[in-house]
């Protein structure tokens, strides 16, 4: 019972919040609104999956949003200039991956803590973003083969949702079903033990940060395709949301551990919360306040859940002895 509650307690609380919105916010539970929330979740989810993979190796990537903005600007500039969409997309992905590799180098080779290194990368990315755009946004009638990446649909389901599902599934398989994923988690949870077991922990950290960067690039491409525009700081709004999604996700499914299903569920809950607050006519700043409470609350919750779990286990042991 305690185990179930610790795995699904916050998910249950989130569900109750959704029920509340369903009852009191008009239109919240309409299929149209729910699919809007789900589509909106996709950008956040892809970005947050990247953060999850970096955090699995116990590294923070605070640059994801600014890197995503830069990657969007790079893609947008190329599309605007008439470059083949495929090349523009590749350039966007390469921008994200490149930033992730730089983060990995700074953390594992130069020995800069990821908190600092990725903050530095974030500032540099933001600077480049404004340099390329000169502060304005790229907007235009972009080729449909580019915008279709995000706007199209398959079997009646929006492409955005397919992207989220596919990337979520791949990331889940990586983390839960492959040696590499297990090594990433071991690196994050017991660095020294992992190293002594022959795991190349620094390589795992580089991988986590590189994937976070790459997925920031993917988010950027999808954002630009969806909006037919690219602007510096266009992913900025997703920053706190992504962090909140990962931390809230850590209170679910596998409490205390960054996990993909938790991240996805939490991303949806957060977007639904934002949507519900708007529908209820809550002021715009209510969302920020709620996010802040969720970020700190989630971490407090997962650390107490973990302490409690360890405590009850000890009790059981004593009872058995």
């Amino acid at each position: 019972m305690t185990a179930l509650l610790s795995r699904f307690g916050t998910a249950l609380a989130g569900f109750l919040v959704l029920l509340f919105f369903g009852a009191f916010a008009e239109n919240f539970a309409s299929p149209g609104n729910l699919s809007l929330i789900l589509k909106d979740t996709a950008f956040l989810a892809v970005l947050a999956i990247g953060f999850t993979l970096a955090l699995a190796t116990a590294e923070l990537d605070l640059s994801i949003a600014d890197v995503a903005s830069l990657a969007a600007v790079v893609t947008g500039a190329l599309i605007q200039g008439g470059t083949m969409p495929a090349l523009a997309v590749l350039a966007g992905l390469a921008t994200g991956l490149g930033a992730g590799l730089v983060n990995g180098f700074a953390v594992t080779v130069l020995g800069v803590p990821s908190l600092i290194a990725t903050l530095g990368t974030a500032a540099v990315a933001r600077g480049f973003g404004f340099m390329i755009t000169q502060g304005v946004a790229f907007v235009g009638r972009w080729p449909r083969e580019f915008t279709g990446l995000a706007r199209g649909s398959l079997l009646g389901v929006s492409n955005m949702i397919w992207w989220m599902a596919a990337i979520g599934l791949l990331a889940w398989v990586l983390l839960k079903r492959t040696r590499t994923g297990l090594h990433m988690l071991a690196t994050g949870e017991a660095d020294e033990a992992a190293r002594l077991a022959g795991i190349r922990t620094r390589r795992m950290k580089r991988l986590g940060l590189a994937l976070a960067g790459l997925l920031a690039g993917v988010t950027a491409v999808l954002l630009a395709a969806s909006l037919s525009s690219a602007a510096p700081n266009m992913a900025g709004d997703h920053f706190l949301y992504a962090i909140a999604a990962v931390l809230l996700g850590m209170t679910m499914i596998e409490p205390g551990r960054p996990n993909i299903p938790g991240t996805l569920l939490a991303a949806f809950m957060l977007k639904a919360l934002g949507n519900g607050l708007v529908l209820l006519g809550a002021p715009y700043y209510a969302q920020d306040i709620a996010l802040g409470v969720i970020i700190t609350g989630s971490v407090a919750l997962s650390s107490t859940v973990m302490r409690r779990a360890a405590f009850t286990k000890r009790l059981n042991l004593r009872a058995a002895a």
């Binding site: 839960k176 492959t178 090594h183 071991a186 002594l196 077991a197 360890a310 000890r314 059981n316």
Partner: protein
Amino acid sequence: MSEALLSLRGVRKAYGAVEAVRGVDLDIGAGEVLALCGDNGAGKSSLVKVIAGAQAASSGTMTLRGREVAFHSPEDALRGGIATIYQDLALAPRMSIAENVFLGSELTRGPLGLPFPRLLDRRRMMTEALGYLQRLNPALTDMARPVEGLSGGQRQAVAIARALRWKAELVIMDEPTAALGVRETAQVLDLIRRLRGEGRAVLLVSHSMADVCAVATRVAIMKAGHKVIDRTVAGLDPDMLAHMIMTGQGTEVAPAG
């Protein structure tokens, strides 16, 4: 010991200006339990870290099965057939028993019998982990349990199971019984004898004279970074051993009675 499995010649390890190991020669043969003794700060742990690949020697040579080797990481040592069980056990507390037994050498299989992609074979790891652990601690049956909830002896069993899993020819144990009760200690000593019986070599770092006299075939004593004594254990009792460690002097003390 006709031919040494591992030979050290003139191994030194310095941390900045501090020299922890000052030129040690040491041979370990298959089927031998070599106890490494000495007071705190004598250089035992540093020497063990060098052999285990956790730290590089400052100078000196290591020869494994007649071939000179240089370990740059624990992975190198493991591949060479040297597995180390550390004092703090080096387990990942939040991971399961099975995951810890196989950490760094996980089993994989392709889905539906395909060669690719290689996915973790959790079921086989559970079964095999249970097989290793049944020899060590039959009370442990739930391989999915996280290690953080286990007792000291149970953790020790998990750590030893991992070394068995690597099929190591040389198993290094750093204070394996320090945290254990009487019965668990007896189990570990029994296991050391069994490893020896299988023709493996064991390097036992221990402060317990009783353990050393019970299982070791040879003892090497370190003092201030030097190896001062290297002899068989036959004919020694714990008191004589303690005296040798304290004084760094050999067996001039005549055995009483």
